[in-house]
Symmetry: C2
Subunit: 138 residues, 2 copies
């Protein structure tokens, strides 16, 4: 959980490494999200459209980053902005690490804010998503 | 919807034929039921344990029979008993037909009942489940 007074611009925050993505997790995410595109759950279908097999829902990876941002904010701040751009595909077995760099610290209307540059990457350092979040401290 | 006065013991009721089972449906059923055993959603896993591929959750087939019984009961009766024994496995692509035979008509404490023998079968006539239901008429 971040403490505003301990942050510096350019600071690299402690990352969050998720357990390897599993096919069961993609089935669970299909149910949780309502996105039942078989590209995410049916290897045979995925191969029929030229993929090597199923790929994760992009929003699952955004969910990983969201979990990370929520942990950074903890009970000290609220998330006022959160966005992400997708990069490489995530496949079962991939280990995703979420990381963040402090981009800017600022005050507005008497409130303290931090903007973060976010990255979700495979262990191979291949980026699967990059984004931005703004936390407003209480 | 059944009308008590039109029923006879031994009568064969109008069947219900479901759309072919799909892999997406199994993913949906995993989410709806909370049964995420990959045997039902991951062909690769299913093959690794000696199957030809994924098989449907047995309870999905029971759900088909349940839907059938509910349609038979409609607003004329309530289901007071419903049970099923599983037979052959159901796979994606299988077309399941639910059928019923009137086993017994009886009255108890002034209420009219019908017991039904239920069958869920593949188009090949291979039985995937057999069961019994009792409807109590209003």
């Amino acid at each position: 959980m971040l403490e505003y007074k301990e942050l510096k611009e350019g600071q690299v925050l402690e990352p969050l490494t998720k357990e390897p993505v599993t096919k069961v997790q993609l089935v669970q995410y299909a149910g949780a999200s309502g996105d039942f595109n078989p590209l995410h759950t049916d290897d045979e279908f995925a191969k029929s459209i030229g993929m090597n097999g199923v790929i994760a829902h992009g929003m699952l990876v955004m969910g990983f980053l969201g979990e990370y941002v929520m942990k950074l904010a903890g009970t000290n701040a609220e998330t006022t902005r959160f966005r992400m751009r997708f990069g490489a595909m995530t496949r079962p077995g991939d280990v995703i690490t979420c990381s963040a760099v402090v981009k800017e610290l600022y005050e507005e209307a008497g409130k303290k804010y931090v903007s973060l540059s976010l990255t979700a990457a495979k262990s191979s350092e291949e980026t699967v998503g990059s984004g931005q979040a703004v936390l407003k401290f209480y």
